[in-house]
Structures are given as C-alpha cells and as structure tokens.
C-alpha cells in the first residue's frame, strides 16, 4: 500500500528551505523555526520579515572602516574625538566591539570581515586588502595596529598586512599576547604559556 503524501503548503516549504541559510540550522531546526513563526508567533514573524528587509535595504559597509553602517560613514569614523593617526585592524565587527569595550583605544578601525585562510582558498582579494591599503596610505594614518586573532590564519593575515604596509613606510605594530589578566600559571594552557615565555620582555 502506498502512503499518501503529507499535505504541505508551498510557502511553508520555501520558508523552511530559506531558514537553512542560518549557521548551524539543519532541516529539522528549520522546520521547528518555521512552525514557531507561522503558528505561535505571527507578530514576531512579521517583525522579522520587516527588519530583515529593512536591514538588507539600508545596511552597507562604511567607506572608511568597512564596518556595517547605514550612512556613507559610520558614527565612529565621523566622530571628531577619535585619534585619526591610529588605525586598528580587526577581523570582525564583534572584535571591534570588544576592543571598544576596553575603553583604552581611541583611534580608528578597519574591519577585514574575515582573515586570510590559504587552506580554504580565502586570499587577499576576499578580505579587501586593496581597500585597506588605500585607507592606510591616505596620509592621515601614522601607525597601524594589527589586532587579528592569534590563530595561524590571523597570524598569516597580520604578517602580510605588515609586509604590505611596512614597504610603504607605515609604522606597524601587533597587539601583545600571553598570560591573561588575573591568570594563574597553573591553569594557563601550555601553548599560551610557551608563547609568553618566547615573547618575554625585559624589565
């Protein structure tokens, strides 16, 4: 006996399919989300649809720092209180937010929106190094601070940016690494500790 197909609506199917673009969302979770939106929270679903459309229409990259913004420039790049001779390079907007939270940096930023990842075929063109070069050599910037991650990919990214900028006479520095604040050596992982020993400084 052949089973009758489960009745379904085309709109529902399309929604389930569309939800799968989200990271970590497979067919099962997508279906759960779709039911939640259509059955239990239609107002929330409407808001989601409107804000998604709005964000797509208005959010773009800042012409100076490449971060997300609604205008030509983001508020940080337009601010007159920032030190425009310093340029800090981070991989993601989340990294920028983290550096801002420290309240110990008052310069400008450039957000790469990624990192070099040779094994995945992510090269300099994919992370906008040409735009960074234009920004860093605009005459205002005097020091570039590399705050990419301390992963092999982040290190490779920092290395190539440093080479590219140094050959054009710009001062380049890299944020320091080592034992975290309040860290007890007994509990620090061996990789971090061995780096801290290698990069020790004179007192």
């Amino acid at each position: 006996m052949t089973k009758e197909p489960v009745p379904t609506a085309q709109g529902l199917e399309r929604l389930v399919e569309a939800l799968r673009v989200l990271p970590g969302v497979g067919p099962k979770s997508a279906q759960r989300m779709a039911y939640q939106l259509l059955q239990r929270d239609r107002a929330g679903a409407d808001q989601l649809a409107v804000s998604l459309r709005h964000a797509l229409d208005t959010v773009r990259h800042c012409a100076k720092c490449n971060n997300f913004t609604e205008g030509e420039l983001c508020s940080l790049c337009e601010s007159s209180r920032r030190d425009s001779t310093l340029l800090c390079i981070v991989e993601t907007p989340a990294d920028l937010a983290m550096v801002e939270q420290t309240s110990s940096y008052s310069g400008m930023y450039f957000v790469l929106m990624g990192r070099l990842s040779p094994l995945d075929g992510v090269g300099p063109r994919d992370i906008g190094l040409d735009r960074l070069l234009a920004r860093a050599t605009d005459g205002e910037v005097q020091e570039v601070i590399l705050a990419t991650n301390f992963t092999n990919e982040g290190e490779a990214t920092a290395h190539y940016i440093a080479e590219m900028l140094r050959s054009r006479g710009i001062r380049v520095s890299r944020i320091a690494r080592g034992v975290p604040l309040g860290g007890e050596l007994e509990y620090v992982d061996a990789g971090t500790l061995s780096q801290a020993l290698m990069e020790r400084r004179a007192l």
């Binding site: 970590g24 070099l116 094994l119 090269g123 300099p124 190094l129 092999n152 290190e155 992982d189 780096q195």
Partner: protein, 241 residues
C-alpha cells in the same frame, strides 16, 4: 558490518586543518603517527572557555585521544606536546602548503609513520627559519615516495647508467629520467646535476633550486589530476600586493 568502537589514546598527532561545526564544535583534520590522517569531532571546542581552544593549534605536536571507528571519530582529549618553534611569516605559508598537500594527496586512515616523522622534521626546520625551498622539496619527494611514486634520481631510466651532471634529462613520471638533447621542453626537462642534488637534498645551486621547484610542481600536479592548490593561488595573489 559494524566495527566495534575503538579507543585511541595519547596518539602523537598534528592538526592539519579545522572547520567550524554546528554552534560550538570543530571538525579537526588530524595527521597522527600510527593512525594516519583522520577526521575528529571536537565537541564544544569553540566555546569561549573550552580547554581545547589553546591546544588544537596547527603545526604544533599534540597527543590526541579519540573514540570511534567510522568516518568521523570523537576527540576526547588533546594535550600539548610542545618543543616546536611557532611558524611565522613565509614559513607559516609553507606550513599551510605542506598541510594542503597532505590533505589532498594522503588517503585517510592509512598509517604513514615515516612521512609523519618527515612532516614533524620539516615543520621544525621551517620554524627555525631554514631556507624554505630545501625543506619543501625534501618533503614533496618524501610524500611522493610514500604515495608509491618514489623518484628515480641517480640512474638513467632507459640504460641504468649513472646520471651525468652535465647532461639534460626528461623526467618521465612513470619511469624516471630519460636523456634528451638540449634543455628546452618545459618543467620536466632538467639537468643531471639537479637530479643528483635533489637525490642528496642539496639546494645550494640556484639552478637546482629553480629546476627542482618546477619539476616537483609538475610531478605533484600530476598526482592532483589538474586540481589547483588553494595555498598556491593565495600565495600568487599575495605576491601582487
């Protein structure tokens, strides 16, 4: 047929590459000494406070423990072995290249202990800042041999006569060096001295460096069946900066 679950303990291994998996996990492509290349699921390794975060670092000798016998095993422990200098700059790019060669060419779950040791040795030399060309050619040669394509470098493949350093040879991937007249004919045509230097891992001569690079690229290209290496195209893009 279902195999019984296996447990591998404290196996010397390197992380070749890792990919994010679901919200907080990683899939690790590892190269271990006695189990060869294997894929491991590191659950929760991307959580902010994960103990594995600072350990699962490529190019560093680790001791890994895992369970399972399928396509994807579960990582249950990772310890830092240490003692290896960190790769930096161009040496780091060479490390990515070597990892891509292993990922593309070495089949999974085949032990290659000699290659593992050669890999560890190559990373140490790159970390110490030795000239990269010699390290890479030596590793490529070793990799081809482990894959069953050991190079014939000291004898003429047709007559069995010793290689004459002054003569030119066409390197036939299936047979080995065949004498030819003149030096034209692409990357597969090299001088006898290049073959002998490659055999002895001596890369002092500029001609040897140049010709062995082309020859190994062509031979590895054959094993890749026309696929291009990501690391090579990224390096070419970087040179244009």
């Amino acid at each position: 047929m279902a195999q019984s679950r296996r447990r591998v303990e404290h196996e010397p291994a390197f992380v070749l590459h890792s990919y994010p998996y679901k919200e907080t996990s990683l899939i690790i492509e590892a190269f271990s000494r006695r189990q060869g290349r294997t894929a491991l699921l590191a659950k929760g390794a991307r959580r902010p406070r994960s103990a594995m975060r600072g350990v699962l670092h490529a190019f560093q000798p680790l001791r890994l423990s895992w369970t399972g016998s399928g396509e994807l095993n579960t990582l249950v422990g990772a310890e830092w072995e240490g003692g290896m200098p960190f790769l930096r700059g161009f040496g780091l790019m060479c490390g990515f290249y070597v990892n891509e060669l292993i990922l593309r060419l070495l089949p999974r779950d085949d032990a290659h202990e000699a290659l593992f040791d050669a890999y560890a040795g190559s990373l140490a030399r790159l970390g110490r800042g030795e000239p990269t060309a010699g390290v890479l050619r030596g590793f490529e040669k070793r990799l081809l041999a482990e894959l069953g394509y050991a190079m014939l470098l000291d004898r003429d493949a047709a007559s069995g006569a010793p290689i004459d350093p002054a003569m030119h040879y066409l390197y036939d991937p299936e047979r080995g060096p065949l004498p030819v007249n003149g030096g034209a004919g692409g990357e597969m045509v090299v001088r006898g001295s290049t073959l002998l230097d490659l055999d002895r891992d001596e890369f002092a001569s500029a001609e040897t460096l140049h010709q062995s690079r082309g020859l190994m690229r062509a031979l590895i290209g054959q094993r890749l069946h026309g696929q291009t290496l990501h690391t090579r195209s990224v390096l070419l893009e970087l040179q244009d900066l």
